[in-house]
């Protein structure tokens, strides 16, 4: 296995790990968004879906086992993604100890330049979000009812600053995906003349879809479409 540690020790290897974990997290966040669209079908549908998440995989596997498997994979992926990002950031800072007196960015997008702070906003938000809607910790004044996610989501988003934080975090996620979903192709060496034009379109489309759908939830609650 020493080649694997060598591989992860290299920055090119770390970027490949970031790309693979990034795609996994993206796949998950896409599924999460699609599932949450059930908010628009009403309380029954969303709560039914939430219950299904707990029994998915059964009877082949015990209840909740697949859910816990998914959670474990998410924790591992997030850990690797953040660890690699941190180590690479330190490596990059060290590579230019003296900053320029003046510098321009002829090519780097705003999204590319905010990957690090965007990532920090996302992780802080994820922690808050889990405390709020998964664990039911009172991180805001909204009442929490175990087993009634529809109520919990609506009650939460009726508080303006809960919605505001959610919207900001999702804008950060959108920017992160706008660069990340393109960047991962480069990191994994997926670059061929026929396919290249699609990489940018893919990243733009999925960043936009995920951000727009996610942001629609608090907006719908605040505007009274969902109550």
């Amino acid at each position: 296995m020493s080649w694997l540690t060598n591989f992860y020790r290299s920055a090119v290897g770390k970027k490949a790990v970031m790309a693979v974990t990034g795609v996994f997290l993206f796949g998950w966040i896409f599924a999460h968004m699609v599932g949450n669209l059930k908010l628009y079908l009403g309380a029954e549908h969303l709560n039914e879906y939430a219950k299904w998440l707990r029994v998915m995989g059964s009877p082949a596997m015990p209840n909740s086992s697949l859910l816990w498997l998914a959670r474990a994979a998410l924790v591992v992926a997030t850990w690797l993604h953040v660890q690699a990002a941190t180590q690479l950031t330190l490596m990059n800072r060290a590579a230019r100890p003296i900053a320029y007196g003046e510098r321009e960015y002829p090519a780097a997008t705003y999204a590319a330049r905010t990957m690090r702070w965007g990532g920090v906003i996302i992780i802080l938000f994820v922690i808050y979000h889990l405390l709020h809607l998964t664990l039911g910790v009172h991180v805001n004044p909204a009442p929490f009812i175990e087993g009634d996610p529809y109520h919990n989501v609506v009650a939460g988003f009726q508080i303006w600053w809960v919605s505001a934080f959610y919207i900001i975090a999702n804008l950060a996620l959108g920017l992160h995906l706008y660069h990340g979903l393109w960047s991962m192709f480069q990191s994994l060496g997926l670059n061929t003349p026929k396919f290249n034009a699609w990489r940018r379109n893919f990243a733009t489309a999925f960043a936009a879809i995920i951000t727009a759908a996610n942001i629609s939830f608090p907006l719908a609650v605040m505007l009274g479409f969902v109550r």
Partner: protein
């Protein structure tokens, strides 16, 4: 035209430097950037001051020695040119111009605008060659190379090792340079025997000194030879293939064969 220059002056390695302001008067729009500095230096010499030291040789964009940051962009505001090919007509009368050396841990300043780019040579020494027995030169047409592959190799071989990619990269990474040097050999038949060994060795040495790639694309934008970041993806791919397949890499075909695809696209 008349310009105000803010130039980094530094006496030697490991000393602190600072920006010093100079007036450049009656600058001809037809002068190159280096000629403009030559004129400023003459006035400095006449006044008995130290001239501004900058590196230069060919003055036609092929030696790669003249790099400097001009208003925060490597080789200045015009893409696809080295500083020596940048002409003063791209500036306006009354402009302020800030001139700074490349900044990277791997490029220590020797004096004023001159940096030591020797760390790029170390990357080449690690694997930027092919091993052949000396003796009679082989017949050139023994190994046929498709035109599309020749051109791909030449696109990478256009690199003049100026260091602008490192200088412009917010991470101080040398990915564009290294990937061009990996690719100009790695796409040719003569480069195949050492293809995977080469990429691992060169990446290893590169990472000892430089930052890592975040795919900003800044390097490609300032490269005087307009080398594409496609080569960076190719280097990543070869590196991954080499690590995952180990020593067998050379006898197995690569996962994605862009050379072949190029050829089939052409025909």
């Amino acid at each position: 035209m008349n310009l105000t220059l803010h130039v980094w002056r530094q006496k030697a390695r490991n000393t602190t430097g600072q920006f010093v302001t100079y007036k450049a008067t009656d600058v001809s729009p037809d002068a190159s950037f280096l000629e403009m500095l030559d004129v400023v230096n003459e006035t400095l010499i006449e006044k008995g001051e130290e001239p501004i030291l900058f590196e230069h040789d060919c003055r036609e964009g092929i030696c790669g020695s003249c790099g400097m940051m001009i208003n925060g962009v490597a080789h200045g505001p015009i893409g696809g040119t080295a500083t020596c090919q940048l002409h003063m007509r791209h500036f306006k009368d009354g402009d302020n111009i800030r001139i700074e050396p490349w900044r990277a841990r791997a490029f220590p300043v020797i004096k004023d605008l001159v940096v030591d780019r020797g760390s790029l040579d170390r990357i080449i020494q690690a694997g930027g060659y092919i091993s052949v027995n000396t003796g009679n030169a082989p017949e050139a047409n023994m190994i046929l190379v498709p035109k599309a592959v020749q051109e791909l190799s030449m696109d990478a071989a256009a690199c003049i090792q100026c260091g602008a990619c490192v200088a412009q990269c917010p991470n101080g990474a040398a990915q564009l340079f290294t990937s061009a040097k990996v690719a100009h050999l790695g796409v040719l038949p003569q480069g195949q025997p050492e293809r995977y060994e080469r990429v691992v060795k060169m990446v290893e040495v590169m990472e000892e000194m430089f930052g890592s790639c975040t795919n900003y694309g800044e390097c490609e934008a300032v490269c005087p030879k307009e080398i594409s970041i496609d080569f960076i993806a190719r280097m990543n791919r070869d590196y991954l293939v080499a690590q995952f397949r180990g020593p067998r890499s050379t006898i197995l075909p690569p996962l994605f064969n862009t050379e072949e695809e190029l050829v089939t696209n052409e025909t």
